[in-house]
Every structure is written in C-alpha cells, then in structure tokens.
Symmetry: C2
Subunit: 147 residues, 2 copies
C-alpha cells in the first residue's frame, strides 16, 4: 500500500467528516504532504470555497505530515492541534490543494527526539493553499503530540 | 418563520457542508447567536470533536450573527472571513455549542454606518465553545463585508 493510500484510509476512518469534504491524499514526499478536496463539496454563498473547509484541509495537511513522521519513527502518539491562525488572502475558485512543507529549520528530528524523551512535544507547522500559483490561504498551526 | 429557522435555511442552502456537520441554529437574541452540531458527525481520532469542525461552527456563528444584523438593517452585502485565530483549550466531548456575542464596545452600529457610507466594513468578532461550563475553544475572526 502506498503512503498516500495508507493515510487516505486513516483519515477516512478516524475523521469521518473528511469524506464529506472529499479529501484526497495527493502526495507525500517525506518533506511535504499535499491534500486536495473538490470545490463542489465545499461551496459557500459566493460559490467559492467555504472558509471552514479551507481550514479543515489545511489543519489535516499538518496533522497528516506529523502522523507520517511519527509512523516512520515507529512512535505511538496522539497528535492534536493546540492553536492556529489562518489568513484568507484570495478566494479559492477551484480544487482546494493544501501543502504542508517542513522547512529545514523546523527540526522534525529534534521534535521526535523530544517526544522520545518527554513523551510530549510541540511543533509549529505552516500550510499553504495555492490558487493560480499564488498563495490564497496561509495557515500556521501549533500541534502537540502526546502518548 | 423564526429568525433561527430563517438562518438555518440560509446556511443549508448557501454552505452545503453545514448539513454534513449537522449545524443547528439554536438561538438568536440580537446580541448573540448560538449554533450547535452533534459530536457524532464531527468525531476525530480521539473520539472528541475534530478541530476543523469546531472551527467551522465557530466561524459560522460569527458569520451568521453579522448576516442577521445586515438583514435587520436591510443592507445588501457579502460577508467573508478575512483572518482568524483559534485556541483549543480542552477537548469537546459532547455536543458542539458555539456562541458569538457582540460586546457593547464592538460597535455594530458604527460598523453598519461605515458599511452604508463606504460599501465595505470590517469587524472583529469572538466566538466561544463551552464544555461543562468552561471555555473549550476560543475563536477570534476578522470579517469583511462588501457589496
């Protein structure tokens, strides 16, 4: 089973609303995770993407990326979002495509080390939703992982 | 038709995902709007409420309250969320109940006056989701209304 297929099943099973949103795990590279969702499931009153759907896809891109790293490190842990901020810079008028990328200085290895030692760790992740090559939504979330 | 029934129909028609989330318009008092959603539609991997669902109910409590004030003032306008932040203080383990209250100093009248003059106005609203009498989720959003 591919990494993408595995994560797709995890999301569908553990967070059923992802099926109504229509989330698809597009690509996992190790350094980044891209999720998508069709516009039609997530329309708002302006026939663009609903802000709550954009938030949901973004928060799950970060969650999924952490989930994959915890799995690769064979660490059991529950990942939860602690706080976040989101900026809507332009409307999303097509498929919602959200990518969480780990910058070199985010220190995922350090994060995993702290988790191994303390059984709890925190990490700040950024997710962007692009529209026509420009950033439409900018999300930053602080996640906590505990045993 | 009651205010609550009217807003329920607006949400179901304009933002179809609200039906999957199971949003119910509980109470509109003029100064506050309370929305709810059942836990079962919105479960996460920890059998508590999914962060994206909590965000969606919160952002719509603010949106709905503005919608009702624009309607009462007979002003046409599109309300969009511009940016927001959300803090998850404790897990929500039962029905999601989100209330947006307008503080006396929020100046909804001033906001409506600005909109009448400039055809665009911004307002910062707070929404809280309570769990057992304590704040579980604290949301603040900046909304923009334009013609």
């Amino acid at each position: 089973m591919s990494d993408e297929h595995y994560l797709q099943e995890v999301l569908a099973e553990e967070i059923p609303l992802t099926k109504a949103i229509g989330i698809t795990v597009k690509k996992f590279t190790g350094d980044s995770l891209t999720l998508s969702a069709p516009l039609e499931n997530n329309l708002n009153h302006k026939s663009t993407a609903f802000g709550g759907s954009l938030y949901s896809v973004a928060v799950l891109a970060g969650w999924g990326l952490l989930h994959m790293h915890m799995r690769a490190a064979e660490l059991p842990g529950k990942i939860v979002i602690h706080e976040s901020r989101i900026k809507y810079l332009r409307p999303v008028t097509g498929e919602i495509i959200a990518t969480c990328s780990i910058a070199v200085d985010t220190g995922i290895e350090k994060f995993l080390q702290i988790f191994r030692r303390k059984k709890v760790a925190r990490v700040l992740l950024s997710v962007q939703i692009l529209q026509g090559g420009k950033v439409a939504v900018d999300f930053t979330g602080r996640y906590v992982v505990h045993q």
